[in-house]
């Protein structure tokens, strides 16, 4: 990629991809817990946020 100017892009691409995948999975886990998990405790706590973000709810 020719647009890489910052040091992050200079990191060995294997490490960069691994860190990217790790962040993607961790982020998805957070969003799943707040927005999608069927647990009653999580649902009731995050209820208003689920509606606010337009996540499928109920």
């Amino acid at each position: 990629m020719t647009t890489n100017t910052h040091s992050i892009a200079g990191t060995a691409s294997g490490t960069r991809i691994a860190a990217g995948l790790f962040a993607l999975v961790l982020g998805a886990f957070f969003v799943w817990g707040a927005g999608f998990a069927h647990s009653a405790a999580l649902h009731d706590t995050a209820h208003d946020v689920r509606h606010a973000f337009g996540f499928p709810c109920h």
Partner: protein
Amino acid sequence: MLVRYLLAALAAGIFAGVVMTPIHYLKLVPLIEHAETYEQGGHGIEPTHDHQAGLVSSAFAHGAAHEAAGSLILAHSSAAAGEGEEDSAALFESRALGTLAANLVTGAGFALMLAATALLTGRTITARTGALWGLAGFAAISLAPALGLPPELPAMPAADLGARQAWWILTVGLTAIGLYCLVLRREAAVRAVGILLLVVPHLFAAPHPADLSSPIPPTLAAEFAVASLATGAAFWVLLGLSLGTAMDRFVGAKA
């Protein structure tokens, strides 16, 4: 280096989550609370399926919802379990505290995913490009799924939860990949595939209930859908900007 990158993303997400909480309370939570009065059959209007919306806790209602796949579900009325009692299963006593916590987690989650996208595609998010990254996130995660499943209020009729979640996740995923192909790639063929990916989820109808009758006044639902998208746009632009600023400050300096 990468640890700093991820910590900067977390900080930006948590910041965006904190800022969004009062905005939710200003624009959205009053509408949700208003809708919940209809959920309990208030305002002289009976829910069409009050045998389902009736005296069950939200936990039980969810169980019933999974069994009745594809059917009309008007359940989920936590307040209907007792006389105006608040959620019993929530992790926090206060509803506002729960909203704050959920906003923090959601903000951190989306920030990590946006930062991960930049990392995986070999791009950098800066304060200058942050708003554009945020708008891309808005398009993929708020706008595209809202075309099939508009943001809904409690007590509105809805199809099976699992089916709607599956359609939502599929639409978000395809839209995100489509945007990547269209915006970040140069090849004409890849861009054409990107356009195709943006369109495909909307050719398959999102799951909708057979019976659309609802106790919620249409004006209230319309107001909520627009308010939800508007605050969603605000969240994503704020998240992109704070992510870019955090990257500039904590990561970019080491270039």
